[in-house]
Subunit: 413 residues, 2 copies
């Protein structure tokens, strides 16, 4: 089956908005073996919206529209689908009563305008929306095509897709056995990874391999779909083991977890904890670690020592070393890590000090240079120098956090 | 003039890719008074691509295609535009020679396949591509419509748009004088902001007003285009002052700066500094503040006290209060702020303690509850309770950071 997705709403045609709903839908549709063959974004003009619907129905068996189901006069999806498919749009007292009850549960009276949301295309099934006022609709056409209306806000669209739309769709489709594998890597550039593994994965049309990269972090995804689970699993296992053989040491997770989750898991397994001492990253490493639910089992906290006064005052870094070696140096990174470990009573501590830019840096240590320290049990103490591409302050900081997490991962494994 | 944009390429229909080219183009087109009325993404299938071109030409005066200009058999934009507009596609020896010379300059011989890139739609003007092998094309149709072919990679598309496409387009358009205003707000929900200002801005078709919201942060953008600069400026000033009269106290910047920049600026003006003490946010507030270039003028650092041991050990929070009132309470937030201020020698300190979820929380203070403390000069010390929508751990933390920054902004202004 192939599908088209229309994002409805003039705000989606501005330069600040991207249709991310279609990415979520594409991912889920692909898992069911449905291919998205076109995507359209169109504003709140009835004529243009009707034309887009007609155009997509000429080329697709499944048409999904997101947005335009609100209560205002700008919300025209219901009416446009009705006109384009030659069906009336009818008032549904049941939906209206449910809307009134929903408003009443917040102690509010439903505005007259919300009655617009109680209209249903003739013959469509209603998909309830527990997270908002716009119900979805599922319409089967005589042509065997399906038109689905979903709300625009992702917080309403996604749960409705998961609970209502996708299960209905899955019932109609031939069962496909899916097998996937995900490898998360760090410590290598995207082009280096690709150079190593492209000669391998290009030999396979199935599984499909995708590579996704962001600052210091690479995801390799394998996906195989055949009629038998055994065959899909075998294909993924075969390609997966060839990739592991090449990339093994750089792979930090195989279950989709981010690096900070992998590191916290290693700590929890050992019953150990980690603290941080951050200069150029100003709290980003702590924010990453504490972003994981349940992080408190292994992450205790630490210090943000953004200036030299704090490095001395909070961590007791030697003022002579700061003056002689500058704050971006191996001994300072080591002293920061050792002090953070001691003062926070953690088993491990990571420290970061460097030049994020745009200003700062020396001839020896230009912008993009970061020293990362690590202190651990039994006097374990070292610091490593990293050099990242300068120019984007935030990117330097992201790279540094990634490297710090990876240093701890390697020390733990 | 209105425009349609087609992004060509099967990779643009995967769940990991977003068409960002169209955002850049939309921004630039809007500045010339050209409105984008539809966007389409279509794969590398000739029939579907031709249909998309025909569909867009039915609804737009200007059609821009990005991508599909490469040398492989998948690159079909030239041929599809030719067929859809009823024109031949002709070999151009000049382009071919330039391609050969380009390859030679890298010490390489042009592959035979690259000859495909030397084909030009009959009647089209060629737009050179100094950053790649695919030249662009500009085609004026008898219908007065314009079709523009641009390469897909942003690093080639953007310079070509800037140097070739947009200047050509601008010459055809009546000159327009642009005036804009941007208001950044926090402390109010999007719907509350809209309820206050919609009755005002809806009276103006020009300026165009757009509202953009993310966790605890709202941007109002006004844009006016008329034939005279005076008139555009006057329209923006008129609507802008009406909006300021209603939203004044919530506006934290008028120049596009984010909240942390506005706060740091207020501190620098006073020659003051700020420290942080973060529990549930684990360093996010420090990361926000230190993300601003030059932050060290006012941000000194602070403490990440993710568990109660750190709250006691690093900040000296009273263990009795922790036990009696729990760590998510007004007195703990106050003690954290006061101690962070004192220990870091800063003029101000902000503290955050709360339940980000998914676990934790009490009947009185469920997940989503955050206490934010602020300590300042002359014994200034208070804490405020916030309640954010639970369910998304990261969103609760983002809201909390935004509220903390806003508390300091209000205290400083």
């Amino acid at each position: 089956m192939n599908a088209a997705i229309i994002a409805v709403g003039s705000e989606m045609l501005t330069h600040t908005r991207v249709d991310t709903n279609s990415l979520f839908l594409t991912e889920r549709l692909n898992l069911l073996g449905v291919e998205v063959v076109q995507k359209v974004v169109v504003g709140d003009q009835r004529e243009k919206l009707e034309a887009a619907i007609r155009y997509c129905l000429e080329h697709s068996e499944l048409l999904i529209l997101t947005g335009g189901l609100g209560p205002t006069e700008d919300d025209l999806t219901r009416e446009a689908v009705g006109t384009a498919t030659g069906r009336e749009v009818l008032f549904d007292q049941g939906i209206c009563d449910a809307l009134i009850a929903r408003f009443a549960s917040f102690g509010r009276k439903m505005a007259e305008i919300n009655k617009r949301q109680a209209y249903v295309i003739d013959g469509a099934e209603v998909m309830p929306n527990p997270n908002g006022t716009a119900p979805g609709q599922w319409l089967s056409l005589a042509s065997k095509q399906i038109v689905v209306l979903l709300p625009g806000p992702p917080g309403e669209m996604k749960p409705m897709a998961e609970k209502e739309f996708l299960p209905r769709l899955q019932k109609m489709l031939p069962p496909l056995a899916l097998s996937t594998a995900t490898f998360h890597l760090t410590g290598m550039g995207e082009s280096d990874v690709d150079a190593l593994v492209a000669p391998i994965y290009k030999q396979y049309a199935n599984p499909v391999t995708t590579i996704l990269a962001k600052a210091g972090d690479i995801t390799l995804h394998l996906r195989s779909q055949t009629k038998s689970q055994e065959e899909s699993d075998a294909l993924v296992a075969e390609l997966g083991s060839k990739i592991e053989a090449v990339l093994g040491q750089w792979i930090y997770s195989r279950d989709g977890s981010p690096l900070e989750t992998a590191v916290l898991r290693l700590l929890v397994e050992r019953g150990q904890t980690v603290a941080v001492a951050e200069s150029l990253t100003g709290g980003m490493l702590g924010a990453r670690l504490s972003g994981v639910a349940g992080a408190s089992k292994a992450f205790v906290g630490g210090f943000i020592t953004y200036n030299n006064g704090q490095k001395q005052g909070l961590l007791g870094v030697d003022p002579w070393v700061l003056a002689e070696q500058t704050e971006v140096s191996e001994p300072v990174a080591q002293q920061m890590a050792a002090a953070a470990r001691e003062k926070s009573n953690a088993h491990w501590a990571l420290s970061l000090t460097g030049y994020a830019g745009p200003d700062g840096g020396t001839e020896e240590n230009p912008v993009g240079t970061v020293y990362i320290g690590i202190a651990g049990p039994d006097g374990y103490l070292k610091a490593q120098r990293f050099r990242y591409p300068a120019g984007d302050r935030d990117r330097v900081r992201q790279f540094a956090v990634q490297s710090a997490l990876n240093m701890l991962r390697l020390a733990l494994s």
